[in-house]
């Protein structure tokens, strides 16, 4: 046998290796192993599969009571569709339903207020503790120290109001909206017959951007287009509403009320219109004396001819509506303005506007001191020892939020909310509520069980009320479903409206004083993004995707400044600014130059600057309300934050 020499061995070995490698490569094995490696390193999540079905449910969040269809895959809700798809809630609801930061159980504060330290407790324990605090105050004849802040006139809002009033306190307040401001200024909130009107003059109410009941407003908008209904928007800054309206009357900042008074002057003096409401004589006297058209034109920037034209359009319309309440989701106004704008409705003798007030859910004896005029008045001038906050965020949304937080530190606060927000930080108990998709509806359809231990806010309130010695008797329902039929009742209070000449007397003087301030030459006007609103939307990641780069970008909030003003004040595009008002300073924000805002105006987005509201909303930008005017309106008790004057640096 021939000896295998090293050379041969090397050749054989080399050949074997070469052959093996070639075979391996051409067999595709390395490609397949690469493919496997790609898939393994990506570790992409695969959503759990399940049976697909569409379940129907009534959404009872607002009086519209839309039928919604929820696409389920197994037990997961993946898509919400509604029959009229007008509701903005629908799409974002799933993000609340499955938000990882949802509160699972009732929480009791363990650290200091504002430290965000809570420990879970049972419902029984929480309710017992809460009710005992209320019972004690009632027993000690200090019922007035019990207060509540509601978000709006919903079922749970009415139930909470009933509970507080039945305990002997009249201190129930609602977050600033066109309804609450109107309640103070007009004695009731305006119900507009948008479906049957032929002409709408809106004074700063951004009807197409989230104002009022957005669902209904969208339907009305389409109707108006079809029927050729005229929409005239009186507003300072350009927005979607001014662009889609048939006409935009641009007014100088803060002069919407003055324009309305100018129109009233014309209608009273030259068209001989009168109103039957009490105090009209005194009111109209001031209007005639102080608001001649030339002066109004000079103050508002609208020429006399246009003012007359506008007033003529109003009275020539068959069924006109004049809308009061500036803003979209965050509404603020002065009572003078509300009365002036509403007053135009009475001067036009329209049948399309009525004043309604909540009728409550049955009689209860209310004792106790008269309440403050509004929430901001209460925060500034009153004290409380127990406060209930129902799905609201007054520490964030009120301009006096910081003052409220300070007072909350010394009081016992219960916050009902599904996510920890700025107000919950200052609460002693945080009770988790549910999203509109959870729990049964009036047809007893339950699609999704309430998340962990959360409950419907109404059920929470009924639960607490039944443990209150004094209030329990007023609560004959066992669940909010039972209470639902009796909720939402209103009564017509149109006849109850009265003009107030006292507040009108000094309006112009005060306006002149405000405008005369050389230290603060610019007006700070809020700008709202449809989904972010007054701050509620920012907790949802998909909402973050709708925010454009001149509102919030790369960690900085942007404000809008008119190009002419930018020249005047020496501001360039993208420059960092601080905004300073009488109340303080916020910064830094970046400036975007655009003629969408009027000269001498800083347009600042609302909804940013939360201290707590899930990681998606926290520490993004600044909260404009911190420096907005806290001057309280005597009738509505709310701060008119559209009247803020600032300077930039």
């Amino acid at each position: 046998m021939k000896k295998i020499e090293r050379k041969d061995f090397l050749l054989l070995g080399g050949g074997a290796i070469a052959g093996g490698l070639t075979g391996y490569v051409f067999s595709g094995a390395p490609f397949l192993s690469f493919q496997w490696l790609v898939e393994w390193t990506q570790d992409q999540y695969v959503p759990t599969k399940g049976e697909e079905k569409y379940l129907q449910k009534l959404c009872e969040y607002c009086p519209n009571k839309c039928q919604i269809s929820i696409r389920m895959i197994g037990d997961r809700a993946v898509k919400v569709e509604s029959s009229n798809s007008c509701c903005p809630l629908g799409q974002a609801t799933l993000q609340l339903l499955y938000h990882p930061e949802r509160i699972k159980t009732p929480l009791k504060r363990t650290g200091s207020k504002g430290s965000d330290k809570f420990a879970p407790v049972s419902w029984d324990e929480a309710m017992k503790d809460i009710s005992s605090k209320v019972n004690k105050l009632v027993k000690d004849n200090k019922a007035d120290m019990i207060a509540a802040v509601n978000k709006d006139y919903s079922l749970s809002g009415e139930l909470l109001e009933r509970m507080i009033k039945a305990s002997g306190s009249a201190n129930v307040y609602y977050e600033s909206s066109e309804k609450t401001i109107a309640q103070g200024a007009l004695g009731g909130f305006a119900e507009y017959d948008f479906a049957n009107t032929d002409c709408i003059i809106s004074f700063g109410a951004k009807l197409l951007e989230g104002w009022g009941n957005q669902c209904q407003m969208n339907q009305h908008f389409l109707n108006w287009k079809k029927k050729g209904v005229k929409l005239i928007q009186v507003d300072t800054n350009c927005s979607t509403t001014t662009s889609l309206a048939d006409e935009w009357i641009a007014v100088k900042p803060g002069t919407e009320g003055i324009l309305a008074l100018g129109m009233a002057n014309y209608l009273i003096k030259e068209k001989g219109r009168t109103s039957g409401a009490p105090n009209f004589a005194a009111w109209s006297q001031i209007v005639i004396n102080q608001y001649p058209l030339a002066k109004v034109s000079q103050l508002t920037g609208v020429d006399v001819k246009k003012i007359k034209e506008l007033a003529d359009t109003l009275i020539q319309a068959r069924n006109p509506i004049v809308v009061a309440g500036k803003g979209s989701k965050g509404v603020s106004s002065s009572s003078v303005e509300m009365q002036a704008v509403y007053g135009l409705n009475t001067l036009a003798r329209t049948g399309a506007v009525a004043l309604k007030a909540p009728a409550g859910m049955g009689a209860i004896a209310t004792t106790g001191k008269a309440p403050a005029a509004g929430l901001d008045d209460f925060i500034k001038n009153r004290d409380f020892e127990v406060m209930f906050v129902n799905e609201a965020d007054p520490v964030y949304k009120s301009v006096l939020g910081k003052n409220l937080a300070e007072k909350m530190e010394k009081a016992f606060v219960v916050s009902i909310t599904p996510l920890i927000n700025d107000t919950a930080l200052y609460s002693d108990y945080v009770l988790p509520s549910i999203s509109v998709l959870e729990g049964p509806d009036s047809n007893n359809a339950e699609i999704v069980k309430p998340y962990k231990q959360s409950k419907h806010a109404g059920d929470i309130i009924i639960g607490v009320a039944k443990l209150l010695e004094k209030a329990a008797v007023s609560f004959q329902w066992n669940s909010c479903l039972e209470a639902m039929p009796g909720a939402g009742q209103t009564k017509n209070v149109t006849a109850g409206f009265a003009f107030n000449a006292e507040i009108l007397k000094n309006y112009l003087n005060e306006y002149d004083k405000l405008m005369g301030s050389t230290e603060f030459p610019m007006a700070l006007l809020p700008v709202e993004l449809p989904y972010v609103g007054d701050g509620d939307g920012l907790a949802f990641p998909y909402v973050l995707k709708t925010i454009d780069r001149h509102t919030y970008s790369q960690g900085k909030l942007w404000v809008l400044i008119n190009r002419e003003s930018a020249d005047k004040y020496g501001v360039s595009e993208g420059e960092s600014l601080d905004i300073i008002s009488e109340r303080g300073e916020i910064g830094s924000v970046k400036a975007h130059l655009s003629d969408i805002v009027a000269p001498d105006v800083v347009g600042i987005p609302l909804g940013f600057g939360h201290l707590a509201y899930t990681k998606y909303a926290e520490d993004k930008g600044v909260n404009a309300k911190e420096i907005m005017s806290d001057k309280l309106d005597p009738l509505s008790g709310s701060a008119n934050w559209w009247a803020t004057r600032v300077k930039i640096s």
Binding site: F31, F34, L37, V38, T41
Partner: protein
């Protein structure tokens, strides 16, 4: 094991100490860059391209500029090879090894940068397995053409590089390798021909074709043959300048004559001629863009030169081109070393600027009238991966120059000296 490591470390320290102070600082600089390159490479590969300043508007950045530049300048390899092996311009013989090595490294690092630049490096092989071919074996996607031609050309370069490596004293002593090296050298002309053929395709497609087919983007679209061939000419012009510049700098650093001045001058002459060709072509290109192509988008040529990457880029490029033409074509200038160096540097700068303008200017142009010009600020990760790559190339070049027979002229010189 320990002794091996120790001897390697001793060797490195000894070599390091044998150099002057300024060279030592330079080595530290190289080492730091390469180290940071590796650190950031891991970050980018594992945690994603989010760490760069590229975004949905400015989708490509430093690495693509690097790729375009490397491929274009590395294209000098094919052209030099073409002249030496096909046209038998023997004066180029002394620097052909350096040229091949530079070409090899340029293409190698093109692939390296590309690996970082694509979002899924593990799927890079899809380009070969699922190519976007159109009809009749014509690639429908320019990138398919790029991928295949670059790969084949890289293989050609590898084969061309082998003899350079094999000439090392120790390796050359082994008869088997000596024969392989010798025969490869005889077959070099086939490699050069193949290389030239392939280079036409990938230079044209990567430098030009890839951009001029984008019919939706006003900064890039032109007639295909126009930009395609212009890119090839750019590669011949800039590449040859680059191939002259690198060994020249090496010679200055090593303080030796790595190649006779005639070699540099020959290559510079070729480069100068190609620059005339390129500049003419470029003027035609700018003219048709302004008169025909950009207006077909209903835009104005001068308006799209807004933003940060403005018309100064074009001005600079032409200035550099004309300088190169003057310095390299006029014999009086070319023969003077100082002016020749200015000429070839301008040439390289002109081509680099043309690649910069393709990427920076092209991406910054707004697509909608309400959007503004975009800007691009590369992040630290992008910078260090780029400079790290370049430092790797410099390091490899220096190693080859010192320990391998990169410059055969040096041996002759030493021979003569003895």
């Amino acid at each position: 094991m320990n002794t091996l490591v120790k001897s390697v470390i001793d060797f490195i320290v000894e070599t390091y100490n044998s150099y002057s102070k300024s060279m030592q600082i330079f080595f530290i600089f190289l080492a730091v860059n390469i180290f940071l390159f590796m650190v950031f490479a891991i970050q980018i590969l594992f945690w994603g391209l989010g760490y760069t300043d590229m975004n949905n508007i400015f989708a490509m950045g430093v690495w693509i500029i690097g790729d375009l530049g490397l491929v274009s300048l590395g294209g000098g390899a094919f052209f030099t090879g073409f002249f030496l092996y096909m046209l038998r311009v023997d004066k180029l013989e002394p620097i052909i090894n350096s040229t091949v090595l530079i070409g090899f490294m340029c293409y190698l690092f093109t692939f390296v940068f590309l690996v970082f630049d694509i979002g899924q490096p593990l799927r890079a092989w899809f380009g070969y397995a699922y190519p976007n071919w159109g009809t009749h074996l014509m690639p429908q996607s320019m990138l398919t053409e790029v991928v295949f031609c670059l790969t084949f050309y890289f293989c050609v370069l590898c084969v061309e590089l082998i003899p350079v490596v094999l000439r090392h004293k120790i390796i050359d002593a082994i008869p088997a390798f000596h024969y392989i090296g010798h025969y490869l050298h005889r077959l070099m002309w086939i490699m050069a021909a193949a290389g030239t053929f392939l280079s036409f395709f990938h230079q044209g497609s990567l430098g030009g074709g890839m951009w001029d087919v984008l019919y939706g983007k006003p900064g890039w679209f032109r007639a295909h043959h126009q930009f395609f061939f212009m890119a090839i000419v750019a590669a011949t012009a800039g590449g040859t300048s680059f191939m002259t510049l690198c060994p020249y700098i090496a010679g200055k650093v090593m303080k030796k004559e790595v190649a006779p001045m005639e070699t540099f001058q020959t290559l510079a002459k070729i480069s100068g001629a190609m620059f005339i060709f390129y500049t003419t072509f470029r003027i035609y290109d700018v003219y048709t863009m302004a008169a025909k192509y950009v207006p077909s988008f209903d835009r104005n040529y001068l308006d799209i030169w807004g933003g940060y990457y403005g018309i100064w880029m074009l001005v600079f490029e032409f200035a550099a081109c004309f300088t190169a033409i003057a310095m390299l074509n006029i014999k009086k200038f070319r023969d003077q070393e100082k002016f020749m160096v200015i000429g070839i540097s301008s040439g390289v700068a002109a081509i680099i600027m043309s690649k910069l303008y393709v990427v920076l200017h092209g991406f910054s142009i707004p697509n909608f009238p309400w959007k503004s010009f975009a800007a691009y600020n590369p992040t630290i990760q992008e910078w260090f991966i780029t400079t790290g790559g370049l430092c790797c190339m410099i390091a490899i070049y220096m190693i080859m120059a010192k320990w391998f027979r990169l410059f055969p002229h040096l041996d002759k010189h030493e021979h003569h000296a003895e």
